[in-house]
Amino acid sequence: MDELDLLKKDWNKGGDNFPKLTYNDIYKMILKRSSSIVKWIFIISLLEFAFWALISFFLKDSESMKRFNQYDADTIFIPLMVIGYVILAYFFYLFFKNYKTISTTDNAKILMENILKTRRIVKQYVAFNLIYLVVSTIVVLWLEFDRDQLIINQVQEATANGEAFKFYATIIAATILLLILAIGVLLLFYWLIYGLLLKRLNRNYKELKKLEV
């Protein structure tokens, strides 16, 4: 006899060993909250959207932003800001549209693909923000060198002392270091959160894909 047939013979007898849950036991369960990864992905994604939206909101009111307002650079800042918000809205729409398609009644592969797709949208949004962060930093740096009287004076002073290169190099190196640090912390956060959350899903999705080869 086939090994699995032997198991099958026993499989259906196993029912007696299971606890018999009553109507009330089950009723209590449906009132409890889910702890599924979909729920966590949803919460974390919303937090990510909120995080980046809040960052741009607070930056807008910060002291340094007020200084930039004096640069007369609205033609640069306003388009940058509009692009930021339009893209936020676009990603938000895509995220919800995909989130809605996640259904536990789909087959396993489609369910996994839909979850991964929803995740990918948030990932792309974060990637966009990182690029946006780098571009904005470059623009701000350029504006400061070009229009900030304080910095222009410092540059002139450094040039007079023959230290112009050192001055530029220090500022650019410090900026790059800060950017790398910020991106590094974010990537670490990602690796930890999603690595743990999606470990099982990724492993099983790979296994299903392997079956197709």
């Binding site: 026993d10 060993n17 489609i110």
Partner: protein, 164 residues
């Protein structure tokens, strides 16, 4: 309306609860984790219930949501595991029903099945539940041929474990 829905759902689930227990039996190996997964599957079934259409069999629909929860949505219980391992409890055989060799073989078989990966377990589960390859392939989203090939590999794997 919600009350009616709740009532019909809980009644149906009470009747078919063994399906969930069986999924939990394969994917967990202790009492706490079993209960935890059972609860999560119940919640997922309840969430999906308003969309359940009577044209599908309730049990068939349960297989899909149950397996999806076990292999995709479920995060392992964080609770410290102190309870006795299932192997000695739930799968205990009645000595008079089996001869020693068969009982021994079954013990090793259950242990071997527990060592399979999540997808292999899903295939074994559906096979043990007498589902045909068409249904297995539809539940997992793979082709019928691949389901058959994989099932044969699992059988070989189990045979090797049993007869090293």
């Amino acid at each position: 309306m919600t009350k009616e829905l709740e009532h019909s759902f809980v009644e149906l689930l009470e009747k078919h609860q063994n399906i969930i227990h069986k999924v939990c039996r394969l994917y967990t190996n202790n009492y706490d984790a079993h209960n935890d997964l059972f609860q999560e599957i119940t919640i997922q079934l309840w969430k999906a219930y308003p969309k359940f259409r009577g044209d599908a069999k309730f049990s068939t629909w349960m297989y899909r949501v149950g397996l999806n929860t076990a292999i995709t949505l479920y995060r392992k219980s964080k609770r410290t595991i102190k309870t006795q391992d299932f192997e000695g409890v739930a799968f205990k055989m009645k000595a008079e029903d089996y001869d020693d060799t068969e009982e021994q073989q079954l013990k090793i078989l259950y242990k071997a099945v527990h060592q399979l990966n999540d997808i292999e377990k899903a295939l074994v589960f559906l096979y043990l539940e007498d589902k045909d390859y068409r249904e297995i392939s539809e539940t997992l989203g793979i082709s019928e041929v691949n389901a058959r090939v994989k099932m044969n590999r699992i059988k070989t794997k189990l045979r090797t474990i049993l007869n090293p």
